[in-house]
Each structure stands twice: as structure tokens, then as C-alpha cells.
């Protein structure tokens, strides 16, 4: 049996994404670089196969997932969870994702509204979790995103979220193009002075 086949069987039979570390633990008779190569071959194989599912890196592990383009067929027999997010839930989730660790009052300041209900719903859905208490007066709870968040949103890790700078750049496209014409004369590099940048906590 090839190593790729062994890895495929492990990922196939697991009920959650399997990480490279887990694979190395399970396959102690193989070296880590071998496992990594075989895994990447497996990923490429499934990608080139153009099948109904592929091997995806989510939440720090590997998992077989269907292609999103096949949604309309899959839902015919799979009971779908009602994954519906209100605007307020998404905003709150975005703030927690980008600003974690974050307290409720920080989220409420950013959104300008009470977030108690939304936070409770997100906690119930296990998309966020309580990381602990902040060492300031009142010792408020601090929130962060969970593994389920990465799995649900199909993210490899938090770093694969688009940065806020990139998001703003998307929005600024027409503005940007206008400016480029002017810049031909001045020779300045295009930069937006109003941009506020945030770095994700490592």
C-alpha cells in the first residue's frame, strides 16, 4: 500500500479534520517529510481528478469536502443545518475574529449597540469561545473564535482571513483608479492616508 493510500484512509475515516501532526503520530513508522510529500500528492490527485469532493486544509487539518458548486445536488438528500447569519452576527463575528482576544464592551464600542444576545447565540453555535478573563477591573470575559469557526468558514487558520487592509482595498477600487491618472505626473506611490491597519494577533 502506498503511503498516500494510507493517509487517504485515515482522513476518510476521521470525523474531524486530521492535522499533519496527528498523521505523524499515527504513522510513526514513516518520517514526517515523507508523510508531508504523500499528503500533498494526495491533495494534488484529488484536485486534478475534478471529482465531487476534494481534500481541503481547514482548521489546521485536512478533510474531504464537497465542492461548493455541487450544493444544489447535495442538499437534495442531506439535511442542512440552517446556517443563517444575520448582519449583526456576522459583524460581531468579524470583530471577534480580527480583534481577539476581545471583551464584550470593546465589541459594543465598535458596533455601537448591545451585543449580549448576539454573543450568546455565537457561543451556543460554538463559533466563539470564552478565552478567559481580562486582568482589568471587573475582570470581564474575553472572547475568541473557535475551531468550529474555522471549520464552518473553511479557513485554514486565522491568518487566512483577508486582512482588513485588503478588504478596504476591494472597496476602494474605483477611487483608486481615478487616483492613478493623477499620479502619473506626480510620481508618488499610491497610498491611502486614511487607511487604518490592524494586525491579527498571532
Amino acid at each position: 500500500m502506498s503511503l498516500s493510500a494510507i493517509i487517504e484512509s485515515l482522513v476518510f475515516s476521521a470525523d474531524a479534520p486530521v492535522s499533519l501532526d496527528q498523521l505523524c503520530d499515527l504513522l510513526h513508522e514513516y518520517e514526517r517529510p515523507e508523510i508531508k510529500t504523500a499528503l500533498l500528492e494526495l491533495v494534488a490527485f484529488h484536485e486534478n481528478r475534478n471529482g465531487g469532493f476534494h481534500l481541503v486544509n481547514v482548521a489546521g487539518g485536512w478533510q474531504f469536502r464537497t465542492h461548493s458548486s455541487l450544493q444544489q445536488y447535495v442538499v437534495r438528500h442531506v439535511k442542512t443545518k440552517s446556517v443563517k447569519f444575520s448582519q449583526s452576527a456576522l459583524e460581531t463575528l468579524a470583530i471577534v475574529a480580527y480583534r481577539q482576544p476581545v471583551t464584550r464592551s470593546e465589541i459594543e464600542y465598535l458596533r455601537g449597540v448591545d451585543c449580549g444576545g448576539v454573543l450568546r447565540t455565537l457561543l451556543e453555535k460554538k463559533l466563539i469561545r470564552i478565552l478567559g478573563k481580562k486582568d482589568i477591573p471587573g475582570r470581564p470575559l474575553i472572547y475568541g473564535t473557535s475551531k468550529e469557526f474555522l471549520e464552518t468558514f473553511g479557513l485554514k487558520d486565522l491568518k487566512s482571513l483577508p486582512t482588513l487592509k485588503e478588504i478596504q482595498a476591494l472597496d476602494d477600487v474605483p477611487h483608486f483608479e481615478q487616483q492613478e491618472e493623477l499620479l502619473l505626473d506626480s510620481g508618488n506611490s499610491p497610498s491611502s492616508a486614511t487607511q487604518i491597519t490592524f494586525n491579527l494577533p498571532e
Partner: protein, 270 residues
């Protein structure tokens, strides 16, 4: 908020025409910052140079409309209204000419502008996140067969139940009982939850455990079933019974939650 009777009447007249149009829109605003951003976009204004007087009056107009439409105006909206008014009045004050270097610092709008810009970013980030292909919506994984896992769990004894399982059981029970096609004119038995509670407690004293299906006989009327169910919920709330399910999808069972000696005290307080 001070009542402005004359103006309110005027607004009511105005609203008659706009009610439909505004009603749909107002639901969309997700807080005062969202409303402000909407007003800025609608008027094609630059966030960094908001004409506070205009925006404040438009903002207050929306709040008045919300109130007149009987929508709950959350305190957050009122807080922002007072912030706007405060900024507006601060802008009317003459600038301190002696101190030109901290001109940016003294712009009363600076804080609000910063919050708006920040909020806008997270709003967009949230929209982008919602547009992703989500697990369970667009993307699916193989569902793991849980039968074996459940078999392994069964030896661990009864599972504690979620309230929703109880409600499900109740719904299937109601479905079993035919809808009566006639109305009784004669006064029916007076149904009370207290009676039903006593009945269940009496049953529980006889035996340690009752099955959900034992509690409700098929000849019960819907009202009787509902009262029994409410009694069960009340007993749960008072923590006098515990609900169990022996297997997944199995029958739901009730056991007394209190030990004998404290049981009497609680019954007395019901």
C-alpha cells in the same frame, strides 16, 4: 427626550405617506453607527468631513420615525443622538486660535469619524465572511456514522435530555391525538396545571419512573395533553423531576429529582 407635540403631529402627517417605504428600511439598521453610515452614503458625503448639522437633523428624523412607527428605539440610538448633538454644539463654539497646532485634536468629530471608519471595516469584513462557502450550507463533509458511537455510549446509562427533545416528543404525541371535529358546549372538566402536577407526583410516588407515553393516554383531549405537558415543564423548572432518555430516539422517562425527605417540603410550597 422632550416631547414636541406640534412637531410630532406634523411628523405623523408626514409618516402616513412614507410608512411603507420606511418600515422596510428601518429594520435593516443594525445600530446607530449603521444608520449613520447609511445616511452618509445616501447623501454621498465624505466620512472624514461630515456636515454634523445636516447629519444630526436627518438622524433625529429617523429616530422620530422609528418612535412613531412603534419600533423600539434602543438606548444605543438615543446615546448616539446625544453624542451628535454634543458634537454639533461643540462645533459652534469658536476655535481656540492661540493653539493652532492641535487643531486636529480639537475637531469634535474626530472620535466619531474614527469609530465610523472602524465600524465600516468590520461591517464589510462580516459581509465578506458571510459570502464565503460555509460548511453545512454550500459545502459538506462525510457524516460520520454515529451508530457505533451511540452503542458505546449506551452502557453509560440514561442520557440527559435537551428541552427540545421533550418538545419534539410532545409534538409527535399531539399528532397522534385526532383533532376533534366538533365542539362541546357543555362545560368540560376544569383543567388545571396544579391538578396535573399533583397527579404526576402521585404517580411518581407509586413507582420510581414514568414513561412519557404512560402519562398521556390516547383518549385524552388535546387540552388535557397540553396541560400535562405544561405540568411536566413546570416540574422540570422546579427541579422536581429529571428527564432521561435511555437510547437515542428512545422513550423519554421521568424520575423524581429530589430525595424523599426534602421532597415533602417542596410539595408543600407548590
Amino acid at each position: 427626550m422632550c416631547p414636541m407635540n406640534g412637531q410630532q403631529e406634523e411628523n405623523l402627517l408626514l409618516i402616513d405617506g412614507f410608512q411603507e417605504a420606511y418600515h422596510v428600511r428601518l429594520d435593516k439598521f443594525d445600530g446607530p453607527l449603521d444608520l449613520l453610515l447609511h445616511l452618509i452614503k445616501k447623501n454621498e458625503l465624505d466620512i472624514c468631513d461630515i456636515p454634523i448639522a445636516d447629519i444630526t437633523s436627518q438622524y433625529l428624523e429617523y429616530i422620530r420615525l422609528m418612535k412613531n412607527l412603534n419600533l423600539d428605539v434602543a438606548g444605543d440610538f438615543l446615546l448616539m443622538a446625544s453624542t451628535l448633538l454634543q458634537i454639533k454644539s461643540a462645533m459652534l463654539l469658536p476655535r481656540n486660535e492661540d493653539n493652532p497646532e492641535d487643531e486636529d485634536e480639537t475637531d469634535p468629530r474626530a472620535e466619531l469619524i474614527r469609530r465610523l471608519l472602524e465600524y465600516q471595516q468590520y461591517k464589510e469584513a462580516g459581509m465578506l465572511m458571510g459570502a464565503r462557502a460555509l460548511l453545512g450550507r454550500e459545502i459538506f463533509t462525510r457524516s460520520y456514522p454515529e451508530a457505533e458511537l451511540l452503542a458505546a455510549n449506551q452502557e453509560e446509562g440514561p442520557l440527559e435530555l435537551e428541552l427540545f427533545d421533550l418538545v419534539d416528543a410532545f409534538r409527535s404525541l399531539l399528532a397522534r391525538i385526532p383533532v376533534e371535529s366538533f365542539h362541546e358546549v357543555a362545560a368540560a372538566d376544569a383543567l388545571s396545571i396544579a391538578d396535573s402536577i399533583n397527579e404526576i407526583l402521585a404517580l411518581l410516588q407509586e413507582r420510581d419512573m414514568i414513561e412519557f407515553d404512560d402519562l398521556v393516554r390516547d383518549d385524552f383531549t388535546r387540552e388535557r395533553v397540553i396541560v400535562t405537558f405544561l405540568a411536566l415543564l413546570e416540574l422540570c423548572r422546579l427541579r422536581m423531576i429529571r428527564i432521561f432518555q435511555n437510547t437515542h430516539q428512545g422513550g423519554i422517562r421521568f424520575v423524581p429529582a429530589v430525595v424523599e425527605e426534602t421532597g415533602d417540603d417542596i410539595v408543600a410550597t407548590v
